[in-house]
Symmetry: C2
Subunit: 384 residues, 2 copies
Amino acid sequence: MPEAILNDISHRRYNPLRGSWILVSPHRTKRPWQGQQEKPGTIELPQYDAKCYLCPGNQRASGDTNPNYDSTFVFVNDYSAVKEVQEEYTNPNAEGSLEDSLLVAQAEKGKCYVLTFSKRHDLTLADMSPNEIVKVVQMWTDIYAAHLSPDSPLAGLKKTGFVPPRSPGDDGARVQDQYRYMQIFENKGSAMGCSNPHPHGQIWMQTSLPEEPAAEMEQLRKYKREKGTHLLVDYAKLETEKEERIVFENDGFLVVCPWWATWPFEVMVLPRRHARALVDLNEKEQAQLAEAIAEVTRRYDNLFETSFPYSMGIHQAPLEGSEEEIECSSLHFHFYPPLLRSATVRKFLVGYEMLGEPQRDITPEQAASRLRGCGGKLYRKKLA
Amino acid sequence: MPEAILNDISHRRYNPLRGSWILVSPHRTKRPWQGQQEKPGTIELPQYDAKCYLCPGNQRASGDTNPNYDSTFVFVNDYSAVKEVQEEYTNPNAEGSLEDSLLVAQAEKGKCYVLTFSKRHDLTLADMSPNEIVKVVQMWTDIYAAHLSPDSPLAGLKKTGFVPPRSPGDDGARVQDQYRYMQIFENKGSAMGCSNPHPHGQIWMQTSLPEEPAAEMEQLRKYKREKGTHLLVDYAKLETEKEERIVFENDGFLVVCPWWATWPFEVMVLPRRHARALVDLNEKEQAQLAEAIAEVTRRYDNLFETSFPYSMGIHQAPLEGSEEEIECSSLHFHFYPPLLRSATVRKFLVGYEMLGEPQRDITPEQAASRLRGCGGKLYRKKLA
Ligand SMILES: O=P(O)(O)O[C@H]1O[C@H](CO)[C@@H](O)[C@H](O)[C@H]1O
Ligand SMILES: O=P(O)(O)O[C@H]1O[C@H](CO)[C@@H](O)[C@H](O)[C@H]1O
């Protein structure tokens, strides 16, 4: 049994999805912690907050007023990191100059949305039922579908009534840009840079394929070419057999602490069959996915009896790409939570981790076993 | 002038040292911040703390007592992440099995030191004079020299009386391991996971070359092969000409906010001539390096009038490697500080940054100009 050894010695594990290594030091949680304590996640909140820019009916920084929405609501981020309209820029092309090889830049266009998960200011995904979460899954799917390149093999798979909201100042005359990639994500909790507890996520689209999905694409493509099968489908099969890192499973999805997890209680949500993107899921699978998300977030909160901070997001096929790129893409969710020992003590990925390589203390097997053990009802009363 | 455009539009910049991209969104600092506030760095501390495990004469967790040292003191970390003696482990070799390609691990041995920078509990590098810091530079050099492979072209360049401290339980009978790589770093401030304000850094040695130095090595080697010159020497020349990102310079060293900086006030400290490692520096250069470190840390503290948190570390030639690997290596320091707007508001590299790619708000040129402007005396009285 490797487990017995791996629980005890320091070792490196390989992440075949990114093509990189992490250092695991299982004995290291024995050291006492005298460092920074986090504020435990806020739990007592009003159902409606007149000062929240996400609550239904409230006014935002842009001056726009939110509709009286029920579950989800999408708008263009008032402080977008990438924008639709801007000047062009590429490096002055003085071929062979030092500047040309050492100071390289390219303009990047894009569009950023904010998406609320519920009209209720005081809820989180952990408080919501799979039936409520499925509406978020459907909205993610609609937004993704609406921005697919017409040339993508995925285009037209889902019919959607979703009309992309316009940026302030956009009167609709301009032809909308086609973007290469869409990143859907959620930052939850102030420890993860979230500044508003109203349950919401973000969606950034841009003209380039960013670093992380590009690294994964490279690895998925290589594996497909070499073995003829899909890396993440094979991985889901292997984890189902091994039963060592599974947190939760249903017929369609698997929740695992991956072999190569970096964050203490990091998990991946994986479909059992090959799905390239959200639009590949049927209704039943959407419900199974919603159940998996409910299970992850509730177990997280139960683990240290706190509103568990995390960043989570979806990797899937790019909006625009070659047929091979689309076909080798595999839909999956990453959850990256920072807490390590308690509601107030996190793992810092700092000096060695920034300059050397990611390092973790408990093993993914130990993390999975603890998350497996804290299913059941949410530790706090539902606020419904 | 590209600057005028780059200050205004979102763009990606290429990092030739790592071979990766970052997203820059200069307009983005306009958004209001309602999120987490950091505790400003502690400044009022006693010169000696009886409960500190680093102060001279105090007892540590291991039971050992610190000597009455004056400036620096090195010991084996009582909670080392990698250890000298442990069981071996490599993947069960069932060739062609899924397990063999998806669950890959290797045992990792190593040794971790803690190094104090001063006997004074209440000082930081920012409070110390170049004359005091040079002792730290010399101790880093000694420790590095003492662990070089006897086969390295760098071996024997510096004579040192330094005797590596032993791990608890090591009676000296065992032959010491030869390690591949040494990471010297400092985590400063509780925001960067540091749990003891006594000025100190860490040194981790290990049998593998970790991810970050491996990525840099790849890029440095490629550049050397293609152009025949050293990437970082060329880069230092270019920055000296451009004068757009320089924070401080003396005859031997340059402090710049690199073109590709990720953290808001990230800087690199670069020698002007090619140096493979600390042992390549002569006494004059050690003093120039100490001055550069003093300038960075003092300017950091002056910027927001606080004890500025950061992680910093040294990249240089591996302890053991091929001649080409050693020759193409370039000594340099990275400083990664999290603060963005004030003593209490940091940049969070979270959702998009973890799942997409690193993203920054102010440009490196803006950061450099602000750091250039806050030289001079330390804003608070020296505690001497
Ligand atoms: O070794 P320390 O100071 O206890 O711990 C700190 O630095 C280490 C190396 O960067 C990190 O792994 C830890 O998460 C951090 O808290
Ligand atoms: O967009 P927000 O929620 O204001 O900001 C948060 O998420 C962004 C995307 O991960 C990060 O760039 C910011 O640093 C973080 O504070």
